[in-house]
């Protein structure tokens, strides 16, 4: 006499367990739709069709390395003033501070968060993993423009990069891809 109710309750439990994982894509979709969270898109943007000549927006750049990541990246100019729709190039100089080959991944974030969907990147070193040899110095270029639809109350925005050391993860991926025999369990232990 209990089994019908028991079945429903167990299904409810399993559904809630699945819901916890469903929260992950839901969260991303919610942030994308509302433009919250300052997470800019990592897709290559197309050039803007028009330029707003009557408006100026300040864009500043900051970078910081995640604890332990041996990288130093800085923009040549701390701040540029741009017209919405106008494509701007900014040079970044990057260095691997360690004595080993490392792989860097830069994750962008825009403040104020609501402005993140109005900042379009046509070229960015954050689109790819950046392998760097020991002590190597590299120059990167960022090509971006600010959307003409940027709300008028936003007069300045900041593009911040967090630098992560993903050497281990990318080695794992490379190893797993290179091996047909899935012995990846052993490599992931390292």
């Amino acid at each position: 006499m209990h089994s019908a109710l028991l079945k429903k309750l167990i299904i409810a439990c399993l559904a809630m367990f699945a819901f916890a994982f469903a929260l992950v894509p839901l969260y991303d979709v919610f942030c994308q739709v509302t433009g919250l969270n300052g997470k800019p898109s990592l897709e290559v943007a197309k050039a803007s069709s028009r330029v707003d000549e009557n408006r100026l927006v300040d864009v500043s750049f900051t970078t910081h390395a995640q604890q332990g990541a041996p990288f130093d990246v800085s923009a040549e100019q701390f701040k540029v003033t741009v017209k919405p729709g106008e494509v701007t190039k900014v040079a970044f100089s990057a260095a691997n501070l360690s004595q080993q080959a490392r792989v860097m991944q830069a994750i962008p974030s825009v403040s104020p968060g609501i402005a993140s969907k109005y900042l379009h990147k046509m070229a960015c070193f954050c689109f790819n993993q950046q392998p760097m040899k020991a002590g190597e110095k590299q120059d990167f270029e960022l090509m971006f423009y600010v959307d003409t639809a940027l709300p008028s109350e936003i007069e300045e925005l900041t593009l911040s990069y967090t630098l992560f050391d993903i050497t281990e993860q990318s080695q794992q991926v490379a190893l797993e891809a290179s091996q047909d025999e899935p012995t990846s369990m052993e490599t992931s232990d390292e």
Binding site: H2, F17, L23, Q169
Partner: protein
């Protein structure tokens, strides 16, 4: 229903070839045995978790680092929280549910007795795993009971897997306990026991069980994500791989906020049972109590981000979560009003369960008010992660949940053991606890408002005097609980025989069976008028 009124059970109510000694407890499917096991386990965990709190207060007695190193201090704050939440308060309420719900609704036992056995007996393994991780190389979990990523993923040690599996087992145990409570209440009520005749303790537990079923799987999901992030290279919470550490907090608090109501709704049920007994009046506003409990449970799902006001949420989000949180004080206010209205012009007698209940009403309300202060978004930026928060949640959990468990224990102890407890010692326990708990937690409001951060083993010199007072209160409160253990022990061993109806104002089916309650009760369902 034929299995319930099995004539074979009559006549030899005590033993039918049941194993004795340890095996009796290991194999038992009797709700009273399992209820006792839960309660004894919860008491043991309360003492262990309390000992950890003593370590914390000893270290904070003076500024500077004296007794333990900061890493061990972090393990103490983490494991103290985990043990008190999952090891003491939740099993204590499950124990009360096991003992009392079948007797209150006139059922012969819980609906799923074997699952009941299993849901208890996996618990000791979970806590053994958690506690032994403290002795392993690198130590136990040290990232706070909330295990925020990346503290629990990037910056934790390899023993985190033990923490994850311990939480998985605790979750499975709670879910099985909750399923059992729901099935018992829905299917095994005595004939005539309609929904609106259910004792309030049963109602609050039914709603709590639904909360458990809804959110414990989400906690299991969160710890699973931590596990795969840490050991299997996923990036749920790692920005480098496209994840988001703030998302951890959303998932965790989606579990975490209903969880705090899981720990307080059964307390509301206990207080709603005890206050009418000793006021010698019917409970004021029974129906509104039921609806208030249900509203609190529903609202608890839409307030989680009030734990995250400082994470950089947009203004609209902060306002929504602020107002939604404040809305919860309406049904909670209804409950407090009803308790006070029940006592109003009642012939109150101040036995020990009533003393704890009155202390609960006053001090829980105080904790509720500091919660309202924390709900104010702009003010929360000052209070966030200070001792003010510690003061708030200890007022609602210690003088709230724990005091209600003490009240329940004193209220039903004569029914469980058949003996009256030593009332003089019990009163000493109450007054010592009441005074010391306020010496312990009240000054925390002030050091918190003055800016002392939580979870740090050292503090600025200006907080030294208050912290010394807090620690003295802490030691006094901790020692007073040993008196509770002694009173319970003495009561189990002997004492004046208790009548069937222990308290003359008490109502309910549990008072119609003799004291101590026989091993099998209501094998024939009672008739409810």
């Amino acid at each position: 229903m034929s299995s319930i009124v099995n004539p074979h059970d009559h006549g030899h109510d005590d033993h039918h070839g049941a194993p004795s000694g340890f095996k009796r407890w290991l194999f038992t499917t009797n709700h009273k045995d399992i209820g006792s096991l839960y309660l004894i386990f919860a008491l043991a965990m309360f003492i262990i978790g309390g000992a950890m709190a003593m370590v914390i207060r000893a270290e904070l007695f003076q500024p500077g680092l004296q007794l333990v190193d900061p890493h061990f201090f972090n393990q103490m704050t983490t494991v103290h929280g985990l043990i008190m939440v999952f090891g003491a308060v939740m099993p204590a309420f499950t124990g009360l549910a096991n003992w009392m719900i079948p007797m209150m609704i006139g059922a012969p036992d819980m609906a799923l007795p074997r699952m009941n056995n299993w849901s208890f007996w996996i618990l000791p393994f979970a806590f053994a795993m958690l506690l032994f991780s403290l002795f392993m190389e690198g130590g136990g979990p040290a990232f706070g009971w909330t295990f925020y990523a990346p503290l629990s993923t990037t910056y934790s040690n390899d023993n985190t897997a033990l923490f994850v599996f311990a939480v998985h087992i605790m979750g499975i145990s709670s879910i099985m306990g909750a399923i059992n409570v729901v099935v018992t209440i829905v299917n095994l009520r005595a004939p005539g026991m309609t929904w609106m005749k259910l004792p309030l303790f049963v109602w609050t537990w039914l709603i709590t069980a639904f909360l458990l079923i809804a959110v414990m799987p989400v906690l299991a999901g969160a710890v699973t994500m931590v596990l795969t992030d840490k050991y299997f290279g996923t990036s749920f919470f790692d920005a480098a791989g496209g994840g988001d550490p703030v998302m951890f907090q959303h998932i965790f608090w989606f579990f975490g906020h209903p969880e705090v109501y899981i720990m307080i709704l059964p307390a509301f049920g206990v207080i709603s049972t005890i206050v009418p007994t000793f006021s010698h009046k019917k409970l004021f506003g029974y129906a509104s109590m039921v609806y208030a409990t249900a509203s609190i449970a529903l609202l608890s799902f839409v307030v989680w981000a009030h734990h995250m006001f400082t994470t950089g949420m947009p203004l609209a989000g902060e306002l929504f979560f602020m107002y939604a949180t404040m809305l919860i004080s309406v049904p909670t206010g209804v409950k407090v009003f009803n308790w006070v209205a029940t006592m109003w012009r009642g012939a109150i007698s101040f036995e020990v369960p009533m003393l704890f209940s009155i202390a609960f009403i006053v001090l829980f309300t105080l904790g509720g008010f500091s919660g309202l202060m924390l709900a104010i978004t702009p003010a929360d930026f000052q209070y966030h992660d200070t001792y003010f928060v510690v003061a708030h949640f200890h007022y609602v959990l210690v003088t709230g949940a724990v005091f209600s468990i003490m009240a329940a224990a004193y209220y039903w102890l004569p029914k469980w053991t058949g003996h009256m407890f030593n009332e003089t010692l019990a009163k000493w326990h109450f007054w010592l606890s009441l005074i010391s708990v306020n010496v312990l937690f009240f000054p925390m409001h002030f050091v918190g408002l003055a800016g002392m951060p939580r979870r740090i083993p050292d503090y600025a010199l200006q907080f030294a005097d208050f912290n010394a007072i807090i620690s003295i209160g802490g030691f006094a409160f901790g020692l007073s609980q040993l008196l509770f253990v002694y009173v319970v022990y003495r009561c189990v061993k002997g004492g004046d025989a208790a009548p069937a109806k222990v308290w003359d104002g008490a109502e309910g089916l549990e008072w119609e069976v003799p004291s101590p309650a026989p091993y099998h009760t209501f094998s024939t369902p009672p008739e409810i008028k």
